[in-house]
Structures are given as C-alpha cells and as structure tokens.
C-alpha cells in the first residue's frame, strides 16, 4: 500500500496543486498499485507516509503551514525516510529562510539549503524547464527569488519563465524534489508523475497511455513556439 499524504491542503492548496495527489493515485491504481491518499488538514496529526505533497499558498497561510509542520514533527518524518514533492510555497518552506509579507524573513524547515527572498517582480505565466532530458511544462505564479546552497542540485534548467532565478528551477535533494511549477505539474507532465511513483515505490512502471500524453505534447509544442518567438526572458528577475 502506497501512502500519499497531502500536507495542509487548506493552507497550501490555493493553486490547484492538490491535483498532484489525484494524478499520482490514478496512475498508481492503473498499474495495480494500491494507494491511499491522506489529506492532512489543519489540526491533523502528521501521519507516516511514503510520500508527502506540498503545494502553493498565500503568505499568511504559508507562515502558518511552516509553524504547524515544525510543531507536528514533519522534519522527523522526512528524516525517517519519506519522499517529498513540493511546489512553490512548499519549495520555500522546506528551505532555510523565506520572505513573506513585505520583506520580513522567516525561518524555513531547513531540510534543504535554499533561501528565498522577495523578487522585484512577480513571475506569472507559462514556464518550461529541462529535467534530466525531459521538457517539463507548467505555470508559475510567485514572487520568490530562490538561491540554492553549494552542492544543492536544481530540479531543472529554465527554458521559459523564472523558476528560482531565471536560470534554474527548484531542487532535488535526495528524496526531496521541488519545483515552482503549478499546472498541476504532475497532470501536465505524466512522465514526471511516473518517475516520482517509480522513485517512491522502487518499481518500474508499465506504460499507461491516456489523454494526459496528448496534453503534455500540446503544452510542449506551445512552449517551444513561444521560445522560438524570443519570449524566454519574460518574467526574469
């Protein structure tokens, strides 16, 4: 049984990222993998899980989410061996510090050496990155500028949009994967959903064709057209 826990969907669910759990569950079940999706709302105990999902949220809720995760022992759960897939505010919370409400800096969970300051402009729009040979497509909507510590591997190289800093997006630190891409990103990139499932279950997955593959191709094509039209610097810091 694969346990996927959605961290604080009531605080970090503003940008449709709860869809990542829906996608993972459907794709796992299609391969005969039993899966349980557990939403961990405010007040819930942070139960053990194989994979924790974090999404995007607004400033106030983001700070509250950080506090609740500290109180609830989330860091210990992750150190015990769970995988984490985080998006946007989730990406920022797992890092060392992040900025909210003006420019006040707030301590993150410190699981990854990544600091986020407030960028001069908000990055809003389609984004695309290269992730280990695959194009990853999504939509970003954030005001963060994230710097990775020495030796922290980015999740992807930016083709369109800003990601962390206009050059790279997110990070991959052992079992912790993070990106700025909404979409939800696992809905728009079925290969990434499968890669994450393989990583968490340790199994290689049989192909499972669906309309999601058509969606992925259509988004890639659209982004490529934009890129060749010289749109790359849109949303740069």
């Amino acid at each position: 049984m694969l346990r996927v826990a959605v961290i604080l969907p009531d605080l970090l669910g503003t940008y449709g990222d709860g869809g990542n759990a829906t996608v993972l569950a459907a794709r796992a079940r299609a391969r005969g993998i039993e899966v349980e999706v557990v939403p961990l709302a405010i007040g819930a105990v942070i139960a053990p899980a194989d994979l924790y999902l974090l999404g995007g949220g607004e400033d106030g809720p983001q700070r509250l989410a950080r506090d609740l995760l500290v109180e609830g022992g989330f860091v210990e759960r992750v150190r015990d061996g769970a995988h984490v897939f985080a998006v946007c505010a989730g990406l920022q919370i797992l890092g060392t510090t992040f900025s909210i409400e003006g420019d006040a800096s707030y301590p993150g969970l410190g699981l990854v050496e990544a600091t986020t300051t407030r960028a001069r402009a908000r990055a809003v729009g389609d984004m695309a990155t290269m992730v280990s040979g695959h194009m990853m497509v999504g939509f970003e909507n954030h005001g963060g500028f994230t710097s990775l510590g020495t030796g922290v591997e980015p999740f992807g190289q930016v083709l369109v949009g800003r990601g962390n800093d206009g050059h790279v997006d997110g990070y991959r630190a052992g079992r912790i994967w993070a990106t700025y891409a909404h979409g939800p990103v696992l809905a728009q990139n079925p290969w990434l959903a499968d890669q994450l499932l393989s990583e968490v279950t340790g199994e290689s997955l049989a192909p499972w064709a669906s309309v999601a593959d058509r969606l992925y191709l259509e988004r890639c094509e659209r982004v490529s057209t934009r890129r060749s039209a010289g749109d790359r610097t849109a949303g740069r810091h």
């Binding site: 449709g16 509250l64 909507n141 939800p184 309309v211 969606l215």
Partner: protein, 370 residues
C-alpha cells in the same frame, strides 16, 4: 471606448456623472452580473447599469453617461472597489462572496479582502453594506463598516477561508455557523435564505424563482436585502425577480444546429461546483474551457472542482484547454469525449453548455436565441 476616453479627459468624471444618483454597487467573485440584473429588475422602472459586464471604471462611466436615470446598479471588479467607492458614494454596497478566481491576475484573495475592509471603514464609507455572513472573508471585509445588514445564505465553498484572516488560526465550520478561537465569528444576521424560503424583517417569502440553482436564491437574498434598504417592498421586488428567465444569455435556451442549448457561465471552482450541483440527471453536458487573459491563463483550478456530479452524464470537452479538462476528468474517472471543432457537433436534443468567460462568449456567438 467612450468610457475610456472620458477617463482620460477628466479623472473625476466618475464622481461628476454619479452625483445625485442613488447607486447600489455589487462586488464579489461569483454572481455579480446576475445579482446586478436582479437589483435592476427588482427596483423597477428605469435603472442605469453596466449590464454588459464592463465592470471597471470605464464601464461605470460609460453606463452612467448613457442614462439619466436617478438610480443605478453597478457591478464592480473585486480589485477596483477602493477607487470606485470613493467616487461613486453608493447608497448600498453588496458583498457577495470572495474566493479564488483568476489568481494569475489578482493574486491573492486575502489581499482583496483587506482592500475591501479599508475602503468600507467608517472614515471612507458611510452607507450601508449588505454582506454574506456565511463567508468569513466577506465578514472580515465588512465588519468595521458603519451599517451592515448581514445575510445568512448557504455556502459550500470554504477552501479559501480555512485560516482566520485576523490570526491565521483554523476557522471551525459547524451547524449554520463558523468561528475562530480568536473570537472572530459569524455575525448575527438580518435576513436569511433557508430552504425554499427567504426570511427578512420577520416575514417569510417562498422563492419560486425561474432562474435555476440554489446559488441564484443566494444572489436574490442579497439583492432583496439591498432593495429593502432602498425602500422597495420585498414582496414587490420578489414578484419582479420571479419573471427573470435569463441574464446576459445565461440560463436561457439557445439554438445550435439541431440542438437546444442552455448556456451556463462557470469561471472558477466555487461557481463551477454550484452549477454542476444544479444539473438534471439526464442532461448531456458540453464543457468549454479557454485560458485567455479574461479567463485567467492558468486552468489548474479545474483540480479544485469536484466533478463527481458529472458521473453518468454524456460529457464533451471543448475550448482551447479541452485537453487540460479531459485530463482532469479522466483522472476523476469520468468518461468524456474531446472535440476539436465545435462545428462538427451534430445530433439532436438538449445540451447544457458550461463555459468559462471567453468560451461562453464564443458559444453566445455560435448559437442563436430560441
């Protein structure tokens, strides 16, 4: 365009053209256009208004320049409240609801709630606020205002009000109420929509609206409460509301080839959930999703909608983001077809078309009135 030119010529023109008129201002994420239409119909007689949905300042100027009516109902975009209130000095402000919508443009709903709160404070606004007591963000926005008429309406969308706007702790929703540990709680209401009746000022009225969906009873409860503040008898106004069958093409029947269409506008999670709950079991459903600027460029909100109500319906995905929609429905376990060319849709019988903003306009253009 006339409105835009007017604004360039005289920045205070909105103040000038609104002077001496009785104005009701309507804002909120969902229901602005329908509630404004209800207010105009219920008020009776000549009422000016931006009934084409042009709800920023240019639209207000154009609407007021086009009519000498002494009364006006204006819907306004959520983000424009501060500017509009200080110029229009409305007699009544109606706050419908506040939830996620086009986040890539307006960004964060809490910032909007705070903006409302500031412009409705007694120092800046002395009129009446008619507000939805079931929505904590709306209550946060209106609670400092000088005169508030709280309206109790059923609300199913809570995903944007999980944490308290005052202290960020969790808000608890219970039987008919909600509260936070910090003391922030649902206020005492003046009027209420309960089941099939409206309760206002100690009297009860059966709804009997022709417009479908319980969400339209919610809109009507707020409209009738606002009209009562303007001296309109509830019974009179309700009789007028019952005759409404369509609002800007919505809800009414239209023809497309051999088909009869009912067009519904659904542009965000809360609105879509309300519409899906109003479907008849045998309805065939076409859903059209675009992601133009006016729709919001990011259709990920589709994952915030519970599509279970579509199970058992024949569903077709249309619009420029039809693949996003079909993917969403597939993951929800709902069978659907994807159609690239709407003109190729043949057949007979009636269809409910659920479309977001620009897709709705395309379907209005593609179909004709019955």
């Amino acid at each position: 365009m006339g409105g835009r030119a007017g604004l360039l010529i005289a920045p205070r023109i909105l103040e000038d053209v609104s002077r001496g008129r009785d104005i009701i201002l309507v804002t909120g994420t969902n229901g602005k256009t329908t509630t404004s239409a209800m207010l105009r119909a219920g008020w009776g007689g000549e009422v000016a208004g931006n009934d084409t949905g042009a709800n920023m300042i240019q639209g207000h100027v154009a609407a007021l320049c086009a009519s000498n009516a002494s009364r006006a109902v204006l819907e306004t975009d959520e983000s424009w409240m501060a500017v509009v209130i200080s110029s229009l000095r409305p007699r009544v402000v109606v706050l419908l609801n506040l939830s996620r919508d086009q986040l890539d443009r307006a960004n964060e709903v809490r910032r909007i709630a705070l903006g409302w709160r500031e412009c409705l404070a007694p120092e800046t606004y002395g009129g009446v606020v008619v507000a939805n007591a079931g929505d904590p963000l709306v209550v946060f926005a209106a609670q400092e205002a000088r005169h508030v008429r709280w309206v109790d309406v059923p609300s199913s969308w809570r995903d944007d009000a999980a944490s308290c706007p005052h202290c960020t702790r969790a808000i608890t929703f219970g039987d008919g109420g909600w509260s936070c540990e910090c003391g922030f709680a649902k206020p005492r209401v003046f009027s209420a929509s309960v089941g099939a009746t409206l309760e206002i000022g100690g009297e009860s009225f059966e709804w009997g609206l022709a417009l479908p969906g319980s969400f339209n009873e919610v809109n009507a409860a707020l409209a009738l409460t606002a009209l009562a503040e303007c001296g309109v008898e509830v019974a009179t106004a309700l009789t007028r509301l019952r005759t409404m069958t369509t609002v800007q093409g919505r809800y009414g029947l239209r023809r497309f080839g051999g088909r009869t269409l009912r067009l519904l506008l659904a542009k965000n999670p809360a609105g879509t959930a309300a519409l899906l709950a109003s479907l008849d079991p045998e309805d065939e459903v076409w859903i059209a999703i675009n992601a133009q600027l006016a729709d919001g460029r990011d259709p990920s909100w589709l994952y915030d909608v519970d599509f279970d109500n579509l199970k058992g319906h024949r569903v077709t995905c249309l619009g420029e983001r039809r693949l996003d929609l079909a993917t969403r429905l597939t993951y929800a376990g709902i069978d659907c077809a994807v159609v690239d060319e709407p003109e190729s849709l043949q057949g007979e019988g009636s269809v409910t078309v659920v479309a977001n903003y620009t897709a709705f306009r395309e379907w209005m253009g593609r179909s004709t009135p019955c």
